[in-house]
Symmetry: C2
Subunit: 553 residues, 2 copies
């Protein structure tokens, strides 16, 4: 069996200028990065979004993921097979997990975006630019304090953290500024992973370069000794930070193995951030395609909820259809099967686990748009398991449930699903908002917890209560809430699988992200800097004298 | 008067494919990064270096620099005017100082490499890739300890530091791994700037991808509790780190305002690192050009000494001519003038200061190759000052001293200098090595100090003595020495200008860089992580709605 990187390296790609040309991107809009990657100069104010929008989400996943990107890519290729003008909009992979856990973010098998090695490594440098801009700001803050602290910033109340695109638990909690008078001011601090940074969120929410700069200006970096907020505008460095992101804001174009165009741009994690690719990429996909297929991270409780509640109001477009990806494996896990035995038939566990799918489907149905289930087939699934699941989806959930096998067959493996999705997109349906700006912060969160997670409500820690009070006092209650929560459970406890009942979500802290325009609610034990596993994927990677890559999934 | 970035943005550049084509780079060797930047696939084993090599260095500079890059670029453009096939090889700018001190690393006025904004910002992502690879290694080391520490690494003896391409004094000395059992092992640590990292040195010394991997394998990351060295090969992550640098190792091609081709690749600082662009870039320049002009960082005591003693043995080529750049301003500063009054005529200070130039010229002459002085004219220099200096160079130093005015006139401002350099290149001359591999570490350093700096010898701190003992015990005395020293003085005290006598160099520590293949000697108070000034350049930078950039010099 060929590895993903082998399949990718064997692919005969089309020049990116050709891929762009097919969907009407003119040559002077293209900045090539090698022959198969490009940044696109795209202006959403003149180039309008006209296409139908399809959102791909999933159930609560296993640690290896449910092949949601594989489904998204396969679905795109199937649209292509059916001669529909389709463009994908996906997130960029983060190097942290690439070096940590096996499993790429570029699809798998014969449903991949390529060149997968470049996309999984530095790609066009967007994350590096974000890291650099983020850390330049951090240095400028501490430098301001070092040189007289005219703004009266309280070093104990700096909220701006440094970041790295590395899974580095060693940097979660640090003390910096040691070494005496000439080496800064000692203070407690911590690093986040780049994908959890506010700049990443901003890159994904900004609709233009001026909007990017506006948002950067507004970012909160801490408080004065008098507890007044200090923003980037107060430091007057929004120009420099925007300059550092002048190329990063442009969507990146690549192709699938079957030459379907794909914008890959931005990549906040969905557990600790908002989990959706950039609005500019989705708008470009909607402009250049009759259909745009986008994917939100992790289960529908995370990425999709945030797509609906945070992204779509700024995108000015709602999805026309939602695809929920389910796998027999993950449902068995949700039904109590041992994680090491997911390759073995276990109908009992599957029957127990389907409640997880049910809650995801019903959660998404509340938004009013058609929901379709994609059953992503794994080689180890048995006929009986697949038959049971398909039957459950049709007869119990009463939605279309289609088996997809794009990992093995590419676009041809998703033709049926594509037809179902196209049909769903044509159904008239009204979008229902889950909450309004005017709802209180507590109400917004309660609605998410009760209607999407299936829980009873929220509980604030003492720290979160103080934060809430401050946010209200500053008048920012109208902002939406971005929940930071484990991806494994509807609850804030990664071990409670299936569809738990009678639980509350424990909010440990609230963080004000004025540039992104939302409040992050940290729940349970969620960490914004992951660690590496016992045997990191990096240990198995290699590149030989001919440039052949191995171990990259 | 137009700013550098205005001149750059007004330049009508040639497509990079055209620039490449003119010197015989074939289309399939080019990976475009936009229309005006490219990475070049270049194989020095089959594409041989044939050109003449010119090294540009300078006297001890002012804080604003002496326009050494401006001279280098102007000289290249003058060769071009004279219909010589010339290619430049330069270092990439580091974002740390770009955001800190005004003054770019891409030349100035009408002698610039362009697009200067892109080159000064992220360029093609090489430094970002180095930062990422460096910090991924750091995370892998700490992760190894966290998960059982099979290699028995002593957390107190880890020598591998994290880096950032930011001037961030706050990170010089830190404590990491706080937060309890699941968040790493607490230990003291510190960050360096990326340009001081061993990976940067390796990128600049590697002659191929396999050589890069070999060097990475050898890198020392710390010691076991039993004081045995631990290398990257012990961790088995050389493959992953090489993979992260697979594109960074390829030289970048751009052009000057006058369309002279320039490879810009790698950028270690010359004070805290070895200060020369990559060997691959210089080899490429020597292959594609009849003349290759390269620049080494800061004064000849730093970059040029390291070019001669560390780089050229690995490059397998010696310079055919050395150009020492001098300015009236810097000589006045070296002669005791106030740094705020360098715009005012001061013949006395100039007469006092020329000893600095003398020592640089004589230092370079010891290597046996012809030395030419380039007097880089500033608008504020008076006729009398220039006449005095030119006379001093001709009659006292007895070398060719030519006034160059490329900042205002581009290549046309350097025609005389170019003619002198071409003549010098044709002189038969034998290269003399300053020291041999077999010399002891102390002897190597003593030779550098006495023959190049004009000092009496070296003095080791207690810490340096311990380090020396360990290096000898491990059998690495045959390595060359990379001096880390202030750029402002021949001594290790930034305040002792001119040509000080009767001084010793104080070595505070010795660091073993097995991948780079040298020993770094830290002298005086040199720091490997700079800080930002009171008014960082970042505060004045901006980009407007049309993408017009201001404040970037």
């Amino acid at each position: 069996m060929k590895s993903d990187v082998e399949i990718s390296q064997e692919t005969v790609m089309e020049p990116i200028t050709k891929v762009a040309g097919k969907i009407g991107i003119s040559e002077d809009q293209i900045e090539q990065y090698g022959q198969y990657k490009a940044k696109i100069n795209f202006d959403p104010t003149t180039e309008k979004a006209n296409g139908k929008l399809i959102l791909v989400t999933s159930i609560n996943p296993t640690a290896a993921g449910e092949g949601k990107t594989t489904v998204t890519v396969g679905l795109g290729d199937a649209f292509n097979e059916l001669h529909k003008k389709v463009v994908l909009a996906l997130r960029e992979p983060s190097l942290g997990p690439v070096m940590g856990m096996k499993g790429g973010a570029t699809g798998g098998g014969y449903a991949q975006v390529v060149p997968m090695d470049d996309i999984n490594l530095h790609f066009t440098g967007d994350f590096d630019a974000l890291t650099e801009a983020n850390n330049t700001l951090a240095a400028l803050i501490d430098n301001h304090i070092q040189h007289g602290n005219q703004l009266n910033i309280d070093p104990r109340q700096i909220t701006w953290k440094r970041v790295m695109d590395v899974n580095d638990r060693e940097l979660r909690q640090v003390v910096i500024g040691l070494g005496g008078r000439t080496s800064g001011v000692p203070r407690q601090d911590g690093f986040d992973i780049t994908v959890a940074s506010e700049l990443m969120a901003i890159l994904c929410l900004a609709t233009s370069l001026p909007d990017l700069k506006q948002r950067i200006s507004r970012m909160l970096i801490g408080y004065t000794y008098g507890r007044q907020p200090v923003t980037v505008a107060d430091l007057h460095v929004q120009g420099a930070l925007t300059l550092l992101l002048k190329d990063a804001i442009k969507p990146n174009l690549v192709q699938t193995i079957e030459h379907t165009p794909a914008f890959i741009h931005g990549g906040p994690f969905a557990n600790i951030a908002h989990g959706c690719n950039s609005i500019l990429a989705t708008q470009a996909a909607l402009h250049f395609g009759d259909y745009a297929i986008t994917e939100a991270g992790f289960g529908s409780d995370l990425g999709a909820e945030k797509f609906m509640d945070i992204v779509t109001p700024r995108l000015n477009q709602r999805p026309d259809c939602v695809v929920v990806v389910a796998t027999v494996r993950a449902l068995k896990l949700n039904g109590g099967a041992d994680k090491h035995e997911l390759n073995i038939e276990n109908l009992d566990a599957l029957k127990q686990g389907v409640v997880n799918l049910k809650r995801h489907v019903e959660g998404m149905q509340q938004y009013g748009k058609p929901v379709v289930v994609a059953i992503n087939k794994f080689a180890t699934d048995t006929e009986d398991e697949l038959a049971y699941l398909q039957n459950y989806v049709s007869n119990d959930l009463k939605v279309t449930g289609t088996i997809i096998n794009s990992w093995a067959k590419g676009g041809k493996g998703a033709i049926d699903l594509a037809k179902d999705v196209i049909k769903a997109c044509d159904q008239p349906a009204e979008f229902h908002e889950l909450y309004n700006d005017e709802d209180s912060i507590e109400d917004k969160m309660t609605k998410i917890v009760t209607r999407i997670y299936g829980g009873d409500g929220i509980e604030f820690s003492a720290k979160a209560k103080t934060a809430l009070k401050r946010i209200k006092k500053l008048g920012y209650d109208q902002l939406p809430v971005c929940m930071a929560k484990t991806q494994y459970s509807f609850t804030d406890n990664a071990k409670l699988l299936g569809a738990p009942e009678n639980f509350k979500i424990h909010v440990s802290d609230l963080q004000l992200k004025l540039g992104a325009g939302f409040i992050v609610a940290l729940t349970g034990k969620i960490l914004t800097m992951p660690g590496l596993p016992t045997h990191p994927a990096a240990l198995d990677m290699d590149i030989d004298e001919q440039g052949r890559i191995s171990g990259l999934f």
